[in-house]
Amino acid sequence: MPIFIDRRLNPKDKSFGNRQRFLRRAREELKRSIRDQIRTGRIADADSEHAVRMPERGTSEPSFNNAGDTGRRQHILPGNRHFSAGDLIPKPGGGGGGASSPGNKASEDDFRFVLSREEVLDLFFEDLELPDMVKLNLKEILAFKPRRAGFAATGSPTNINVGRTMRNSHGRRIALRRPKQVELDVLLEEIASLESAPSSVDARQRIAALREELDRLERRRRRIAYVDPVDIRFNRFDSRPVPNANAVMFCLMDVSGSMGEREKDLAKRFFVLLHLFLKRRYDRIEIVFIRHTHLAQEVDEETFFYNTQSGGTVVSTALEEMHRIIASRYPAHDWNIYAAQASDGDNFAGDSERCISLLNGELMRLCQYFAYVEIIDEREAHIFGSTENGTSLWRAYNAIDQKWPNFQMSRIATPADIYPVFRQLFGRQPASLKRA
């Protein structure tokens, strides 16, 4: 008879540590491929699992191997049908026929594996320079709040419900007729009084009987515990998700010719980050993409990022379009409205005043938060510090920034500049964000 050991309940993630080591080793390559995927993928998909190609650099395991294309060797193969000794067979292209296993290498090359959501966010955040607290917040899935929900037979010792436990214990003691302390005391008293009285045969017999009875009761008490594990009840808690409202996120972008590949990439990272943030706070998020040149229109994500359109630049058209969409589809009392605008700062002369009046008039009151990023060249970054001067749109928005606390603006030249735009948003407590 062999020894059996059931290992099924042993920890299953034995290779988890090895996996982490592997990811750390391949970090640079994985980071690049995650960035590419987020760049080409949809905004809402950034926050999920990603399949990535097996990285090659830094993870090869070399050893001395025979080269397949040198020397003389013999292959012994089964299944000869019509060959006889001396036949010549042309070599299959690409070398390596038969007994060796060159197939292994090829399959390893196009092999992809899945990174979990946490791992993806880890890699994605790395050069955004988010503070750790924010990273943690974004990675947490949902806020749950424990609520009392009856009793349970299992739980942690801190949650023992004493009242319920004692009630069970009491019932059980009654049902099993556990002798009470009082009964024992009565017996003891009687024995004591008999012993103190002058002894007679009767009394001695009586004492012996009483002692036996006492002994029996005591054994019974020992057998039937005062509090038995079966009596114990724990407070049960249900974790309920904290109710969240709906949010809509407006992505506004200038798509005129001056916005190149780099600018769009930065803008996308900016939108992704806002989306990640909102996703954590709201159950349901819709994204509206509005692109504009001298005309604004609502488009799908694909068109938004990849189609170029020629024309002038009139920013106010986008704001008007946004206003129209809010009015028709997203009534402000049902929706939390967030807006994120990316532009290179160009605007048609005289239009900036119109933008100011639009924002001041209605939009800023409707919006929970309005973030504006101006994407500038890295070489320009040191010319415009935090000075007031800048493009016409920047100067105009500066006025808004002074007036509205829920307006944020920033110039972005590298990915690391993106986070400060959201600083205020991340800094605030969720409760204060909710409107009455």
Binding site: G71, I89, A99
Partner: protein, 513 residues
């Protein structure tokens, strides 16, 4: 329906299993194995695991305990992917050459499969591990688990003390040389116990503490100054040439710290432990497959296994021994299960129903009827190469329709040199046996010289057989690893084994980065 009457003697019915049934099945199978096949096994420890745990075990080269390294993570991802895509099923079992012999059973297996696996692993492999000469002499079944436990703990301690990166660097380099880290010809020393190792370590530490530089300034003795005799002297004192590169580096590297030497030793011991398994694939799997096939049929004949279960067993059995022909898209080399089983059944046939040809080829076993003893002897004394050289019969060669394809790199054609005919039998048998000779198929690389007093240049030699050179990229990368362990320049000369001419020489100073 005749079997209906004996229904009560069934070992199990239905596909669900529990520990009682497993145990009953094991007892019945073991009794049969001892009585009918005269198997002799280690005690068995069966462990039930889930598929996830099986994947875990796969990626740490099948051992229940293993130190941590990123390459195991990489292999895990790979196995996991293949499994998920359905590209590869998981093994139904995993067996470890230890005493007691550990057999992993997957929880998903049906009872019929568990019975099959029990016969295959707990008896077949187990018998082979316990009785085969290679395993008996070269591995220490009783000590391996304890050693792995020590290794894992030791590497964790090193990581704490010296940092992950430093430990990883040594492991990377040592892993690259795993193939060159085994003694092929002389017996490796026994795994010493934890206490002895502790003692050695303490002595090393003492020597480090009490090192005195004064000794270096003593005038050299007579022998050392004798320039003439220095070269052979040096080689002799270092035991050169040395084929076990890891052993050489562990003992002689001028730059390694004691803990780094210990890590190299760990990798080397593990490589050595697996060396017999790699030499006995066909025999090991053949033995296990032969045992399960024979035992399952016997149980069925005795009415202890139902027809349904037997069908399931046979279906799995035939999947395992499936051998596609060379031009089949599924062909990926010779299936060791199929070859081993066929050869062992062939021995059984020669022993009981020999043809005239068999009497010519195998006069000492043909028609003797003692196939049990012949197989037991074969299992005990042979490895793949010698087993095939000894027992591959013409009937087998015809059945498999083997042929030999000569492949010279400078020719545009491959040439069929032998097929299954009178002239070809012996050649095919030799060629097949040679292809299982690990010593001849792995690159032969040895340490030939090192000048410990001069520039400490380490010279390796690659004996080139049949003009087969090393792959450039991986050779350079591996040389870099050796350089890291040795600390000074390393060069590898390719020497033609027949003419002794140097084909080329590659040194780490030529390799950038």
């Amino acid at each position: 329906m005749a079997r209906q009457a004996s229904k009560s003697s069934l070992l199990f019915s239905g596909s669900d299993w529990d520990f009682k049934t497993l145990s009953r099945a094991y007892d019945a199978i073991e009794a049969l194995a001892v009585e009918e096949l005269h198997l002799d096994t280690y005690p068995v420890q069966m462990e039930i695991i889930s598929s996830q745990q099986m994947l875990d075990a796969y990626s740490s080269i099948g051992m229940p305990l293993m130190y941590r390294h990123w390459s195991f993570g990489k292999h895990f991802l790979h196995q996991d992917l293949l499994y998920r895509k359905g590209g590869r099923g998981l093994a139904y079992e995993l067996v470890i050459n230890s005493n007691p012999c550990i057999v992993y059973l997957m929880e998903e297996n049906t009872m019929a499969l568990q019975a099959l696996v029990t016969a295959h692993a707990a008896l077949g492999h187990n018998h082979f591990f316990k009785n085969n000469q290679l395993f008996k002499q070269w591995t220490d079944a009783g000590a391996i688990l304890g050693y792995l436990d020590f290794a894992k703990g030791y590497i964790v301690r090193c990581e704490e003390r010296h940092g992950l990166a430093a430990v990883e660097a040594v492991l990377d380099s040592a892993h690259a040389l795993m193939d060159q880290g085994v003694f092929r010809y002389h017996r490796p020393p026994r795994l010493s116990s934890e206490r002895q190792r502790e003692g050695i370590r303490e002595r090393l530490e003492y020597e480090e503490r009490s090192y005195n530089d004064l000794w270096r300034t003593l005038p050299p003795s007579q022998q050392a100054t004798n320039e003439k005799g220095q070269d052979p002297e040096r080689k002799k004192s270092l035991n050169l040439p040395e084929e076990n590169l890891l052993y050489f580096l562990e003992k002689n590297s001028p730059v390694l710290e004691p803990w780094q030497r210990e890590i190299i030793r760990i990798v080397r011991v593990i490589a050595q432990y697996f060396y017999p398994q790699r030499q006995t694939q066909v025999m090991n799997e053949g033995c296990a497959t032969f045992v399960h096939y024979t035992l399952m049929n016997m149980l069925f004949d005795r009415g202890q296994i139902s027809e349904g279960a037997m069908l399931e067993i046979l279906r799995n059995h035939s999947n395992v021994v499936f051998q596609p022909a060379f031009d089949d898209p599924r062909f990926s080399g010779i299936n060791p299960y199929a070859l081993g089983l066929d050869m062992m059944q062939d021995i059984q046939r020669i022993s009981t129903k020999p043809t005239a040809e068999d009497r010519d080829w195998f006069p000492d076993i043909a028609g003797q009827g003692n196939w049990r003893e012949v197989l037991l002897d074969a299992w005990a004394d042979h490895r793949d190469e010698s087993f095939i050289r000894q027992y591959l019969s013409p009937a087998m060669i015809r059945k498999w329709r083997f042929f030999v394809l000569g492949d010279a790199a400078d020719q545009p054609h491959c040439q069929v040199t032998s097929i299954h005919d009178e002239r070809g039998y012996r050649k095919i048998r030799d060629a097949l046996a040679n292809s299982y000779d690990l010593g001849a198929n792995r690159p032969d690389i040895q340490v030939v010289d090192v000048d410990l007093l001069g520039d400490r240049h380490l010279r390796l030699q690659h004996k080139v057989n049949d003009g087969i050179l090393l792959e450039d990229a991986s050779r350079d990368a591996t040389l870099r690893h050796i350089r890291r362990l040795w600390g000074y320049e390393v060069s590898l000369a390719a020497i033609d084994a027949e003419t002794g001419a140097t084909i080329h020489e590659r040194s780490t100073s030529q390799i950038a980065g």
